[in-house]
């Protein structure tokens, strides 16, 4: 067995002002060449654990620390962070906050310069690490010119240049689009398998971790709940559900199949395993074909949002939208998806008059946005941006919700009534006197939604609402969108997290390179794998399993969720569906 490169011995830790330990009795061994995945809900202690590897916890934050962390033979309490940086490379969640230099080569050189590596040696290492992360030839580019995925790869390259014994990555893909996430996982896997770099990665990306990790550690409330290979942890469905975690879609599908009576000795955790296992099952039970392809029902009346031949070119010449035409009617739930830069947000910004068309027209309830001002529009079209913290300006939740109403000359009685209504709808009555920024991120998002609902808009746009959220946080926000939709609001969600949307959206607008690639019911759009791939999206694993079934049997299935796939396959011995 390879030697241990890092060990945690009964580590417990409390931040200076935390009421309870964030890490409790953690004992862990990371072996040379291993790929260790850290999983757990938000607040489980994953980030704190990652920061303990290089001594940031407790040396930078202070607090109370018990036990010992040893990395490459060094006790992290006894050696300064700058000395530990030679052995531990760390990549954080947000690619933007990690960039410290104004060129790619300077970014890589920064740690080496601090470690007093001679100039010639720095020059020799830069092309090597850029090649390792597939950023060759970009030495002189400004990091801001890189995409999110490229920035994370640059952060990895900057760490690799130091030649650390251990590379720690804390949620490196949570803020990236699917193509960026795929780039990062593929590079990290390559570094681990081909160069033998030891990896520790905290991530909510179950499908990807199942493919890459050798070993998983499940954390909850600062404690290790269980550890083992992905096939051991992800297959404990009840435990995962209990901790509000999401096992890979393929594992959940086979879990439902097992519950439906199929004999499944081992639940698969990777897509390849799942496809190999589902085909014989499908051939044996001949699933029932899905009903005819659904179509978007024609809607009567004037559309609430009408876009005609819309084009937009930014000042720098970037053609962000080309010839977009679509209508959105009252009461629809629409998903707008596509890779970063596909034009999703640019399109939505036209609905709010934050941008005006270069060509074509956008009408809100029949009125061209040219003839409206932003504040008038904001009362009809609410917008929840990705980062709630930029949308909070007040010192209590109640003031935040009432903020706009006060400036819009609303009568005092009405302000009170609408604030009360919004707080109740978002379940914020108990925290009405709290500072909004003292609440967890999910609740902060609800404060912003409540403030927007107080304006009583007919349309609510959610721009990447699930980015940076764990599964439970994402589901909570999406349940809110469902509540709004059920209450008659028109809901537009912009996201590339397709696996989360199957149970919510009715209609999908797929965008790519500024054009509208597809406008179809979700059941149709999610099954057009080639179309999704053209804008660097992948359908959820359940959809891919349904394809495998169709491939094996010739029977078309248009399932979206693991339950639906299991339901389609579940049949009695006479061949009838259960």
């Amino acid at each position: 067995m390879p030697e241990a490169i890092a060990t945690f011995d009964n580590v417990s830790y409390m931040y200076p002002r935390s009421a309870a330990p964030v890490l409790r009795d953690i004992s862990l061994k990371i072996r040379k060449g291993e790929f260790l995945g850290l999983i757990g809900p938000n607040g489980a202690g994953k980030t704190t654990l990652c920061l303990a590897f290089n001594g940031i916890v407790p040396q930078f934050y202070g607090g109370r620390f018990f036990g010992a962390v040893n990395v490459a033979g060094l006790d992290t309490l006894e050696h300064p962070i700058s000395a530990l940086a030679r052995y531990v490379g760390i990549v954080l969640e947000n690619p933007e906050t990690q960039i410290t230099a104004t060129s790619v080569e300077n970014e890589i050189a920064f740690a080496l310069e601090n470690l007093k590596v001679p100039r010639d040696e720095i020059h020799a290492r830069i092309p090597r690490v850029l090649e390792a992360v597939r950023l060759e030839g970009m030495e002189h580019r400004h990091p801001q010119e890189l995409s999110g995925g490229q920035k994370q790869r640059l952060a990895i390259a900057a760490m690799l240049a130091v030649r650390p014994s251990l590379l720690v990555l804390d949620e490196p893909t949570s803020q990236l689009d699917p193509v960026g996430a795929q780039e990062v996982f593929s590079i990290v896997q390559e570094l681990n398998r081909e160069l033998g770099v030891t990896i520790v990665m905290a991530s909510h990306a179950a499908e990807e971790l199942a493919e890459c990790a050798d070993h998983l550690v499940l954390l909850n409330a600062g404690q290790i709940v269980d550890e083992g290979p992905p096939a051991k942890l992800y297959t404990q469905i009840e435990l995962m559900q209990q901790l509000h975690l999401r096992p890979p879609g393929v594992t959940r599908t086979f879990h439902y199949l097992r519950k439906a009576g199929f004999s499944i000795p081992e639940l698969p955790v990777t897509l390849d395993q799942g496809i190999a296992a589902i085909k014989p099952l499908a051939v044996a039970c001949r699933p029932q074909a899905s009903e005819a392809q659904p179509v978007l029902a024609p809607r009567d009346g004037r559309p609430l949002v009408s876009v005609t031949h819309l084009a937009h070119t930014y000042d720098d010449g970037t053609q962000a939208l080309q010839d977009i035409s679509l209508d959105i009617h009252k009461g629809e739930y629409v998903l707008i998806t596509g890779q970063n830069g596909a034009g999703k947000s640019t399109l939505a910004r036209h609905f709010l008059r934050l941008l005006l068309p270069t060509a074509g027209e956008v009408r809100i309830d029949g009125v061209p946005t040219h003839d409206l001002n932003i504040s008038t529009l904001a009362r009809r079209v609410g917008y929840v941006a990705q980062n709630p913290d930029n949308q909070i300006f007040n010192t209590t939740v109640e003031q935040e919700v009432a903020f706009a109403l006060r400036y819009l000359d609303t009568a005092t009685g009405e302000i009170r009534a609408r604030t009360e209504q919004s707080l109740t709808a978002m379940g914020l009555l108990d925290v009405r006197d709290r500072h909004p920024l003292s609440l967890p991120r999910g609740e902060r998002a609800r404060v912003v939604i409540a403030a927007i609902l107080a304006l009583e808009p007919e349309v609510v746009i959610f721009d990447e609402p699930t980015t940076g959220q764990d599964y439970q946080g994402a589901r909570t926000i999406l349940e809110l969108t469902k509540q709004l939709h059920d209450a008659g609001k028109t809901v537009i969600v912009i996201t590339h997290h397709l696996y989360l949307m199957a149970e919510y959206a009715e209609r999908v607008i797929v965008m790519g390179k500024g054009t509208l690639l597809r406008d179809a019911p979700i059941r149709v759009a999610f099954h057009e794998a080639d179309l999704l791939a053209s804008t660097y999206l992948a359908p959820p694993q359940a959809v891919q399993l349904a394809h495998a079934v169709t491939e094996a049997t010739g029977i078309p299935l248009q399932c979206l969720t693991p339950q639906e796939v299991a339901g389609a396959l579940a049949c009695d011995p006479t061949g009838h569906n259960l």
Binding site: S82, R379, F393
Partner: protein, 286 residues
């Protein structure tokens, strides 16, 4: 959110190729001369030269326009205050008595409180001198800073024997500005999306709304600076000057020429001022 793109000059020119040290020297010399010269014509000439140099170096005209626009109210206030109230100063500098001042405008003597007060041409000239000084000092900074890559700036400053910690803090501050600006824009946009129509608000109401930006701005900045600290420490940064540098900062002929040119300019300006009175305020513009 775009961050850290502080260098705004995209054009490659002599200014971008120069080392940061002669540019620092140039900034210092021009600032000193702008400070010394009181003559509005010479000061104006210096300001105009710096402005033209900025344009030649590729500083965006939009940036210069914004600077001039921001300086406009300040300039108008200066013209009024100096034009009306700088009598004693003008007498000290030129020996001219108030009765000899050329009055551009005088309030009728019968008017209460302000009756008889007048706007003197000499006072206006003195105001123009201050405006020229301010403009020179405001524009010479982007001429030096915008034409230098932040990383190169650090190396240049360290070579100029400025302590590494100070050079790093300086460069970090420069990187921080665009971030702060982008965040401010995002917050204002979020406020507009809550239905707030700034264009129809009175100045007091608008100020009250703008004041709300401060809380998220400061909290965001604190959070980001803490994250930056974590990132820096994780990359072995401890502020120690004992480190290596990827790039060397070597002076080339053009750098030495710039040193020489501005050294001579400073010398000539000081001698001219002391010995021949060049740049002194005379109160006689033509």
């Amino acid at each position: 959110m775009s961050t850290m793109a502080f260098r705004t000059v995209e054009r490659d020119s002599l200014f971008t190729r120069l080392d940061f040290r002669p540019k620092l020297f140039m900034i210092a010399v021009i600032t000193v001369i702008a400070f010394v010269w009181e003559d509005p014509l010479m000061g104006g000439g210096l300001a105009l030269s710096v402005l033209l140099a900025c344009l030649a170096a590729g500083v965006k005209p939009g940036y210069i326009r914004t600077v001039l626009w921001l300086m406009l109210p300040f300039s108008l206030i200066l013209i009024l205050t100096q034009g009306f109230f700088s009598g004693a100063l003008i007498t000290t500098l030129t020996g001219l008595q108030p009765d000899d001042f050329h009055m551009l405008f005088v309030f009728p003597a019968a008017w209460p409180l302000i009756g008889g007060a007048g706007l003197s041409w000499e006072g206006v000239q003195y105001a123009l001198n201050i405006i020229a000084k301010s403009l020179t000092m405001t524009l010479v900074i982007p001429l030096g800073i915008f034409t230098t890559d932040v990383d190169t700036m650090i190396v240049g400053m360290v070579k100029a024997r400025i302590p590494y910690k100070i050079a790093f803090v300086f460069s970090s501050t420069l990187r921080f500005f665009p971030l702060l600006f982008a965040r401010t824009q995002a917050i204002i946009e979020a406020q507009r999306l809550r239905g707030l129509a700034f264009e129809t608000m009175g100045p007091v109401k608008r100020l009250r709304v703008y004041a709300r930006i401060v809380v998220p701005l400061i909290l965001g900045a604190l959070n980001e600076s803490q994250m930056l600290d974590v990132v820096l420490q994780s990359r072995a940064f401890d502020g120690s000057p004992d480190r290596t540098y990827l790039h060397d900062s070597r002076l080339i002929a053009a750098d030495y020429a710039l040193f020489g040119l501005f050294g001579l300019f400073l010398l000539a300006a000081i001698i001219g001022y002391i010995v021949f009175g060049f740049g002194r305020f005379t109160g006689v513009l033509w």
